[in-house]
Symmetry: C2
Subunit: 143 residues, 2 copies
Amino acid sequence: MEKKIFNKFLKERGQRVTKERAVILQKTFSYHGHFDPESLYLRIRETGLKASRASVYRTLNLLCECGLIERVTKTERGTLYEHTFGHGHHDHMLCIGCGSIIEFYSEDLERLQDNLCRKQDFKGVTHTLEIRGYCKRCQKNKK
Amino acid sequence: MEKKIFNKFLKERGQRVTKERAVILQKTFSYHGHFDPESLYLRIRETGLKASRASVYRTLNLLCECGLIERVTKTERGTLYEHTFGHGHHDHMLCIGCGSIIEFYSEDLERLQDNLCRKQDFKGVTHTLEIRGYCKRCQKNKK
DNA sequence: TTGAAATTGAGAATCAATCTCAAATATGGA
DNA sequence: TCCATATTTGAGATTGATTCTCAATTTCAA
Ligand SMILES: [Mn+2]
Ligand SMILES: [Mn+2]
Ligand SMILES: [Zn+2]
Ligand SMILES: [Zn+2]
């Protein structure tokens, strides 16, 4: 399914459907959570498949443009991605203490953002809401 | 005022109040909008003052920890900062077309986030909401 | 099957940010 | 004021994620 979408996207832009892009797409969707480009690259090599780092980065950018995946966050240790196709859109709470990530979704929040955009004559396309703080466990440990 | 706060922060951590830190703090607050470390560094040199790049980066991190400034966004071309002390908290809309940034604040949005955190037993400390899309002007130009 | 155009990959390049460590400095006490 | 010492500074090196280069390979419409 995601393969159909990606290939269609490529065709429309006069770009080509290659083995490497197929491999990268497939392995991207083998992740159920967040992942970074380097570990995706290693996962590809582990399975005996082939695609270079350069192609991994290039293809991740294409997959973002195409809307199948999203950048979750850009930390000092690189970028985290996740696929959005199949998973609904959601936002993240990041624990400063232990690094754990809570995913959440709120219809109210989405609606409110739409209203705010309208108020500014801004046409929202995507957004990232990242709430940093302390998860339940880390709050306890502090005491 | 911000100087008082910063010095108190340093003292509490057993860190020292140095000329370089004072210069960097002062020039940081000479910006009324967003800025990046390199241009802050250049602005310092232009005025004949001195502080190395290393100290600029180190001090910006301290100022973040201390809460006087915040990271606005981490782009491919580096990190943008702004001071929060004196300015109220706000979030950003980023135009994909022209790079312009709209600042906005919504009491409803803040309240809603608090509720969402409570629901997850998460203790929110800071957050970043970045809405990417097209500003008024870029919407027109597209047609 | 062909050929123009797109893509790939190994390694080089880029560049923000951090690190190194000897020299300089801040600070609390004598 | 002077001292002892822990902290900070800065020039340049280093790191590390990401992008770039470009010759060789591959795609795909005709
Ligand atoms: Mn997620
Ligand atoms: Mn701002
Ligand atoms: Zn935690
Ligand atoms: Zn614009």
